[in-house]
Assembly symmetry: C2
Homo-oligomer: 205 residues x 2
């Protein structure tokens, strides 16, 4: 399988390419050169060509890439041709914003259930969902063969939440709690922490 050979940093750039190609396709653009794509993304054209060469021959010398074709190939490579069901754990201010977020569906994901441990929230509506008891999470994940979870709980509850998710079959976790969590080998974790991004910029100010 390709996944074993491709550097993780290359995989990390594919969604960025896909996002730009999706935008260009929506704008009606049929062909894009690696130069134009690179300029748009702040990545060198050589890097883009090298990254994509891991997966095959997508462009023609001198004419560039067919936008819709490359977009569809990246969707296939990233395995988002179909929509993945996702559970959301934690329905505070951030979890609520994520529950309402309309951007997931077009990108290959759908939040199918929202969980919290607060008795005052359980049973309440958020977006088009009813908040479920986190005690029912393991059964829900197993019964629906869910593989992806978004964690938006406080830091103090993050590791415990992740342990439960892993134990019931979750393979990929997007963690919004600002703390590093431990997972067994083979489980993917990605972090979103706005402070980390801000701190990365202040270095240069």
């Amino acid at each position: 399988m390709e996944a074993n050979k491709v550097p993780d940093i290359v995989v990390g750039r594919l969604p960025i390419y896909l996002r730009a190609l999706t935008y260009l396709a929506e704008q009606g653009q049929a062909v894009v050169s690696s130069q134009e794509l690179g300029q748009r993304l702040g990545i060198s054209s050589a890097q883009i060509r090298k990254d994509l060469s891991h997966f095959g021959e997508f462009g023609k010398q001198g004419t560039g890439y067919e936008v819709a074709y490359l977009r569809d190939q990246l969707r296939r490579i990233l395995q988002i041709e179909n929509r993945w069901p996702v559970v959301l754990v934690g329905c505070g201010a951030l979890g609520t914003a994520l529950a309402y977020y309309q951007g997931f569906r077009a990108k290959g994901f759908e939040v199918v259930a929202v969980f919290d441990n607060d008795p005052n929230k359980i049973g309440q509506a958020v977006s088009d969902k009813v908040i479920m008891d986190v005690a029912d999470l393991p059964d829900y994940v197993r019964n629906n063969a869910i593989k992806i979870a978004i964690v938006a709980v406080p830091s103090s509850a993050a590791q415990q939440t992740v342990d439960v998710l892993v134990s019931c079959g979750i393979k990929a976790i997007l963690n919004y709690a600002p703390i590093n969590v431990s997972v067994p080998a083979g489980i993917q974790v990605q972090y979103i922490d706005p402070s980390v991004h801000l701190q990365r910029m202040t270095f240069y100010l």
Copy 2:
């Protein structure tokens, strides 16, 4: 200045180290080895030692790093010893969650003003702020010498918002709109797009 010599990918890991060290200090841990830090973060101890060596000698062979000292040095290197004032543009569901987010202050940032262009929102309270008219943003940024902005507007308004921010002196932008924006040289942009992180993981599923 150090900023010119250090690879950007190294700078990107410093906030991760800082987050772990801050956590360990809160737990009362005085000393940490690069091995323990690496295990916690999923980064090799050699990489950590190499990254930190760009900035000086922080550890002693065989004893490891003093947690509080290294934390303070990283705060100095990242220039977050003092708190940066930040403007937040866009007060939809996500902007609202960010306005209420309590995590920024401890990390060196404070949202000092929130802007929107919706007449129904302007003048309303969000967290301890009153939402201001985005038309007043340039004056506010200039008068208060703000350097950092968080953009949480729809994709369709992102480039225009960024152009305004740059024109009035903003140097670092954290962009939540799921679209790449163009900025002049010398302006930092970081992106937060949960779909990009999710897609990066589905590659491996």
